[in-house]
């Protein structure tokens, strides 16, 4: 009803193929190795050969041209498999720069020339840098690593300085959506990528907890039979559902002037849900989910990291709240409608 039939079919095929690819390729060993901050080039090659980084780039520019919602659902899928690679960054870079290269890319926001905590900053071929004056595309040859670090999911977050690069015009819709603030514009894009990843990781944590509750027996019955467990997991399912729904809502606004507000709302709501779902996932799994041996932490540590990247939920809440208060109570209702009413476009911009 909201997408034309062919698009739905293509999207379903791409999603199905990606699901199989990620399920087979991302083994426990791969995730454990990634925890050491290692960039898995072989895995990147597979993801890149499947065309995933080009999902959001239009066909005319050499991309796959999925409907934005479907493209961001691929990032949700990546989160569901804890893909330890900068797929979201690269997908956004391709779509925003209109280039169809398949080398890994980074996104950086900087107020002072220092590029803080760039995902896989020492491994990416190029960084899209947002500064007060505009955007720059900086190739690896013009980036210097200042210090290497990792987030609490073990993924590299590297501080860089940039010496050159070529300026890149923001797409008009995005610039207008961000009130001509280049840093806000890129932060919102990154925020939605993280929100989509969180939505996927939440789905996985919920599925793991439901499976665990069905099989783990205590007091002579499966945990799933205890009402306290049922209600905790129902609450987690609600949170996870809200996150998926709001991420879709923001993704549908890609290319439109309400994008930044919707991305802000998505990051805020998904971040709120992430903390709750991670906590419930652990409570249900009990001690065994708190160990390195169990897989749960691969997902919950990502949830806890991603909710703070490209603006935490509280930071976005503050940004949203400021705008709402400035506009006053009389504007609140229309703002809510504008932020959540879906308008499918006839053609991709």
């Amino acid at each position: 009803m909201t997408l034309d039939h062919d698009q739905v079919e293509i999207a379903a095929i791409v999603e199905d193929q990606a699901d199989r690819l990620l399920r087979d390729a991302i083994t426990r060993e791969v995730l454990a190795a990634a925890d050491g901050g290692v960039f898995d080039a072989a895995l990147w090659q597979k993801v890149s050969e499947a065309g995933l980084p080009l999902a959001l780039l239009g066909e005319e520019a050499g991309g796959i041209g999925l409907a934005p919602r479907q493209a961001f659902r691929l990032l949700r899928l990546a989160g569901q498999h804890a893909l330890p690679l900068p797929l979201g960054e690269t997908m956004l870079f391709a779509a925003l720069s209109g280039t169809s290269g398949d080398a890994p890319a980074g996104l950086a926001l900087s107020a002072d020339g220092v590029l803080q905590r760039v995902a896989f900053g020492a491994d990416v071929a190029v960084v899209l840098l947002a500064e007060v004056g505009g955007w720059r595309v900086v190739p690896a040859s013009e980036l210097q690593v200042t210090s290497e670090g990792r987030n609490i999911a073990g993924a590299p977050r590297v501080t860089l300085t940039a010496t050159g690069g070529t300026s890149l015009l923001l797409p008009g819709w995005l610039a207008r959506s961000a009130g001509e603030d280049p840093v806000l514009a890129l932060r919102a894009c990154g925020a939605l990528a993280r929100a989509a990843g969180m939505a996927g990781a939440m789905r996985r944590v919920l599925a793991m907890a439901v499976d665990h509750a069905a099989t783990r027996v205590q007091f002579g019955r499966p945990l799933a039979r205890f009402q306290a467990i049922q209600h905790m997991l129902a609450a987690a399912a609600e949170e996870s559902a809200a996150a998926s729904a709001i991420v879709d809502s923001a993704a549908e606004a890609w290319g439109q002037e309400d994008f930044v507000m919707r991305a802000a709302v998505a990051k805020s709501r998904a971040g709120l849900a992430a903390g709750r779902v991670a906590a419930i996932g652990h409570q249900v799994h009990a001690a065994m989910g708190f160990t390195q041996e169990h897989d749960l932490h691969f997902f919950t540590r990502r949830l806890l990291s991603w909710r703070d990247e490209f603006g935490s939920d509280a930071e976005w809440d503050g940004w949203i709240g400021q705008r709402i208060c400035t506009a006053g109570g009389g504007a609140l209702w229309q703002t809510l409608i504008d932020a959540t009413t879906t308008v499918e476009r006839e053609a991709r911009a």
Partner: protein, 382 residues
């Protein structure tokens, strides 16, 4: 089990037209002083407002033209209802009829019931209440004991209902009664009847709630006659009918916009230059509300396509009522002002009304515990 999807729906041009029309209607009502924004909008009963709303063509819009409707999409109805809630309009007189009783009669009623009742609902002249709960039957609905016994040309109803909202104001109640054995599933032998409240053999006694409002009632049936053609569906189909209307009852914007006017008053109270804490809390509530509206519109789209998204509806109701209950709590942390129903000050009054109603949000229409049980079943736990 990986979770739920709430696909987006495209609002048809007719829905946006309806938004313009209902806004104009509400503004005119407001300007003429016929309505003032109420807290607890859909629980404020105002028969005059409902009649004017019906005359203006805003009730039963999705129903066939033959029965007074306009054959509009559910999204048109969605827009009309959400605009009324956001404006704080007093909607209780038509809420139940428009939301679930009318659709139920349209789907399962006899031809006479449809012809007599539906056009009158559309005109805003005919109002409904739901007779499900009983003294011994709250969340455990399968245990109802009110009995319908077959007699010549119809049924006689004996028993008692409780918590029947607006029974003292409405034209009809839809009464769930036992007509046979419960069976091993406990869900057999129940039937729904459309009962005229001014029938002989019915007595209504009011119950004041903690806010001092009279919405609830006890209803006593003593040999109350219901003609055959006021039975809904087949004899014994009551359980399926009740379950079928839940997706309508639970997924709508009334589950997260009841106290929207408090949110508006809070934003104005905080003012255009909020401190960080106020901005963060208000932004967070806005995000929660956004997710709820997205999910609720998505369900309207599912209902339009004939689906029965019961678990999704339960998710919206539980998240929605949790949000509504948290709103006054958050407001208290941001504004140092006491709740007060008598000063006439907008914020303090909105806070007071909401706090005094909030406990019932997660009780009426399925308690939080029942909803979470349904969701647990939906994700494969039961």
């Amino acid at each position: 089990m990986l979770g739920f999807d709430f696909d987006g729906v495209r609002f048809p041009p007719a829905a946006e037209e309806a938004r313009t029309r209902i806004r104009a209607f509400l503004e005119a009502e407001h300007a003429a002083g016929r309505i003032v924004p109420h807290r607890g909008t859909w629980s404020t009963f105002d028969a005059g407002f409902t009649r004017r709303l019906g005359e203006a063509g805003f009730i039963g819009v999705t129903w066939p033209k033959a029965y007074g409707g306009q054959e509009a999409s559910s999204l048109v109805r969605f827009v009309i209802t959400e605009e009324m809630l956001a404006a704080g309009a007093p909607c209780a007189a038509h809420w139940v009829a428009d939301r679930q009783s009318g659709p139920q009669i349209l789907k399962h009623g006899t031809e006479r019931a449809k012809q007599v009742i539906l056009p009158a609902i559309c005109r805003g002249e005919c109002t409904f209440g739901i007779g499900m709960s009983e003294p011994g039957s709250g969340s455990d609905l399968a245990s109802v004991r009110t009995r319908a016994t077959r007699i010549d040309d119809g049924w006689r109803i004996d028993g008692q209902k409780i918590w029947t909202t607006n029974a003292h104001n409405v034209t009809y109640l839809i009464v769930l009664a036992r007509t046979g054995e419960a069976g091993p599933s406990r869900h057999e032998g129940l039937t729904q009847f459309i009962v005229k409240v001014d029938s002989p053999g019915i007595e209504v006694r009011g119950i004041q709630d903690m806010a001092g409002n009279h919405e609830f009632n006890e209803v006593f049936f003593d040999g109350c006659f219901v003609p055959d053609d006021m039975m809904l569906g087949e004899e014994g189909s009551g359980w399926d009918l009740v379950t079928g209307e839940l997706a309508f009852e639970r997924s709508g914007p009334d589950r997260f916009l009841s106290d929207f006017q408090l949110f508006v008053a809070l934003v104005d109270k905080v003012g255009p230059t909020p401190g960080r804490m106020s901005a963060v809390e208000i932004g967070r509530m806005f995000s929660e509300l956004s997710a709820l509206r997205r999910m609720s519109t998505s369900i309207a789209g599912m209902l339009d396509e004939g689906a029965q998204p019961l678990v999704e509806a339960a998710i919206v109701k539980d998240l929605g009522t949790s949000f509504e209950q948290a709103l006054p709590e958050t407001a208290r942390r941001l504004v140092a002002e006491e709740a007060d129903r008598e000063t006439g000050e907008v914020y303090g009054e909105a806070l007071a009304e909401t706090m005094l109603r909030a406990p019932c949000f997660s009780l009426r229409g399925g308690t939080r515990e029942i909803l979470r049980g349904m969701i647990a079943r939906g994700i494969g736990l039961r």
